[in-house]
């Protein structure tokens, strides 16, 4: 999971889940707590799904 997808591509990551922003990749301080929690859960679930997905070469999970 990372914010700057081009860097993940450059370093050769296979499964890439785009994140929110460099200072807060897995959260968003502008959201109220309950909404932020939903955002965080969705990102983690997406990452878990990505882990279980077979890939051939570098794949971005939008």
């Amino acid at each position: 999971m990372c914010t700057v997808v081009p860097i993940s591509l450059t370093v050769g990551a296979n499964r890439i889940v785009p994140a929110v922003a460099i200072p807060h990749p897995l959260g968003n301080p502008e959201l109220p707590c309950d909404e932020e929690k939903l955002l965080r859960r969705a990102l983690v679930e997406k990452a878990l799904k990505a882990l279980q997905t077979e890939v051939e070469g570098q794949t971005i999970f939008e």
């Binding site: 914010t3 700057v4 860097i7 929110v20 922003a21 200072p23």
Partner: protein, 428 residues
Amino acid sequence: MRLELGRINITDIRFGEKTEIQQGVLVINDAELKVLLADDPNLVGVDLDLAKPGEDVRIIPVKDVIEPRCKVEGPGGVFPGFISKVETVGSGRTHVLSGMAVVTTGDIVGFQEGIIDMSGPGADYTPFSKTLNLVVSITPLEGLPQHKHEHAVRMVGLKAAAYLGSAAVDLTPDQVEIFELGNFAENAVQYPTLPKVAYLYMLQTQGLLHDTYVYGVDAKKILPSLISPTEVMDGAIVSGNCVSACDKNTTYHHQNNPVIRELLLQHGKELCFHGVVISNENVTLADKIRSSDYAAKLVKMIGAEGAIVSEEGFGNPDTDLIMNCQKLEEMGIKTVLITDEYAGRDGASQSLADATTLADAVISVGNANEVIELPACKKVIGNLKTAEIIAGGFSGALHADGSIKVEIQAITGSTNELGFSKLRGEGF
């Protein structure tokens, strides 16, 4: 726009009863200046010191460096949006106190502040060992939030520079340089056979104290924009202080951007200087894509055939640099990039966080991870203990005898990406 820079050569600085310039010697009424600078409810007070080339002095942690100036003819004033009201600068005449600088120090704001040694091996790495420096040590209220602390020290530096600059209002400059650039259409007609070159000027805008201001506007909130090179020379861009010391552009660097200066000097000779586009380096991918799209489009719209692109900082801004390069090259605009490297202490690691094969003309201004030993100095202005927490320093960097071992990343301006300093990397 046509700007005259009238340089008053400052040959020495000292404290005295009245702030004035006497045959090149700047006398500073320190009592008056201290009162002026301490007039901020967020500050406990300020101290003033002098640091001159060759002295056994270390300044740490350095926040910003500013060149004192005053506006003597034409619209606007110094540091529009901060000291003067917002009004377009870059024309008329500005007087410059040449050979000196205001340096701000004091309690650390963030962790990316720097070192200036006035003598010894560290002095070779910073341009500000060669300037006569008025050093302002700033003490904030206890518990002041970092962003307010940063704002307070930024304003103190600008106020001090404006105060000193005003001593040059009525003086006759030692030399006057004239910089002028017409509009795109005029340039194209005047120099039809010369290559049209633009400058894409990337500004550090990552937030969390990594900011740059244009006419007082926080540049992370702008879309890339056109600016006259003489506006930049005349103080329209101000540093927000807290980026890694080696490759942040201090306000002094913005005022004296060597890329802009050389492009203006070569205009009509080797090339046709087609304009400056400022862009930012924000922290979301969408921002990076939007800004690089927009910046490349502006460079194309003004009709440039080539562009010089300078980065500020390192790490994720490498992606902004590479996006700018890629998009310009794909539009058929040739690029030259100016960047430093973070290639590890042995220089063997990948230099940038991002890459493209289209970046086939790159000027390296040095490897910021190189380690240097800086012997103890007789006098320290600021706080030596911060050597262990500034970027480029580390736990154990400060030795019992006062000497320090740091990466050159910690030295103000050592790998400046405008090419202001002396380091360069060579391919082999």
